[in-house]
């Protein structure tokens, strides 16, 4: 790996990390506005460390759902990271404590950065550089957003109750570049809204997850 390509990887990793740091600020703000403490918010970013799952958990709780519905939604959203791990395991070739550490960094951004490289050394370098930079910025941003929101008395004045849907939309948009995902997304939203008055908060998500799993499994 040449110094040039190493620099290019570092530059990309830092760019991704800074962007996600800004996104973490909104996570910290939404989480505290949803009623979680600053400490709980920080633990989510330190230990869970996978954006969509974190947003889902605080979104369900903020919407009046039980913490356990939020927990299941977060785990379901985290299932894709297992498939990322599968793709990365041969590239990374890590064992023991290094594997335990690498696991924490198995997320959308690090996977995209690693599998975009041609040679394994660059891929490993991209994975670790992106993982470490993102972890630092993600957790710093979370803390800033959480502390700032804790300091304001009524988050509704700043429209923070309208922030979670926009955050989910922004996470969803890159996955909708084809017709089928778009149709699935629309159907999922309609089903969730339709069943909402009849089941406890948070449960519509689980119904939708079950339906889409059955659909994905049975379709050819």
């Amino acid at each position: 790996m040449s110094p040039d390509s190493r620099r290019a990887i570092l530059r990309d990793a830092l760019g991704i990390a800074i962007a996600s740091g800004a996104y973490a600020i909104s996570f910290g703000a939404i989480s505290v506005a949803s009623g979680l403490s600053v400490a709980q918010t920080s633990v989510l970013s330190l230990v869970m460390f996978t954006g969509a799952s974190q947003f889902a958990l605080v979104g369900v709780v903020g919407g009046g759902g039980s913490i356990w519905a939020g927990t299941v939604a977060a785990a379901l959203l985290g299932s894709r990271n297992a498939l990322y791990g599968l793709r990365l395991s041969s590239i990374l070739g890590v064992r023991g404590s290094r594997r335990a550490l690498a696991s924490q960094f198995v997320i959308d951004e690090t996977t995209a950065m690693a599998i975009a490289r041609d040679d394994p050394r660059s891929a490993r370098y991209a994975f670790w550089a992106t993982g470490v930079a993102l972890f630092v910025f993600w957790n710093t941003g979370t803390l800033i957003g959480a502390l700032a929101t804790q300091a304001i008395s009524d988050p509704k004045v700043f429209g923070l109750d309208a922030a979670p849907p926009a955050a989910f939309l922004a996470l969803l948009a890159p996955r909708l570049r084809a017709r089928e995902p778009l149709a699935i997304a629309l159907a999922a939203a309609v089903v969730a809204i339709a069943v909402l008055p009849f089941v406890p908060p948070g449960v519509p998500l689980l119904i939708v997850a079950l339906l889409v799993s059955v659909f994905g499994w049975l379709r050819r």
Binding site: A19, A22, Y23, I25, S26, L36, S37, Q40, V43, L44, V47, F49, T50, S53, F55, A56, G62, G63, T71, A75, L76, L77, R80, N81, A82, L83, G85, L86, V94, Q104, I107, F158, G159, A162, A163, P164, P165, A166, A167, F168, L169, A170, R175, L176, P181, I184, A185, A188, A189, V190, A192, I193, L196, P197, P201, L205, L211, V212, S213, G216
Partner: protein
């Protein structure tokens, strides 16, 4: 909401998400190579995120409501179509709701 149950949920969910990552790196490749599994798992975030957009916009608890959040979502959709960065999408949506509440 510093209740012990919230802490329990936060910790269980966090460890479950970590466990899924660890499983991906640790389990024999053949276990996860199932073609149906590979096809199904990527659909889950799409459906869940869309369901979250819908329920978080049009509901409070178990009640369907139409309020400033719908206007905020409309603005967010425009921002997404214009390929605005993540924070801008969230910020314009929040600002829309805040501004409408101030004016109306």
């Amino acid at each position: 909401m510093a209740a012990p149950v919230t802490w329990a949920g936060v910790l269980v969910a966090s460890l479950a998400c970590y466990g899924l990552k660890l499983a991906g790196l640790s389990l024999p490749q053949s276990w996860l190579q199932n073609e149906r599994l590979q096809r199904t798992v990527p659909l889950i975030p799409i459906a869940l995120l869309a369901a979250l957009v819908g329920t978080q916009t049009f509901a409070t608890g178990q009640h369907l409501v139409l309020d400033m959040r719908a206007a905020a979502l409309a603005v967010a959709i425009v921002a997404v179509l214009l390929r605005a960065p993540f924070l801008v999408v969230v910020a314009v949506a929040a600002a829309t709701a805040a501004l409408l509440r101030l004016l109306l």
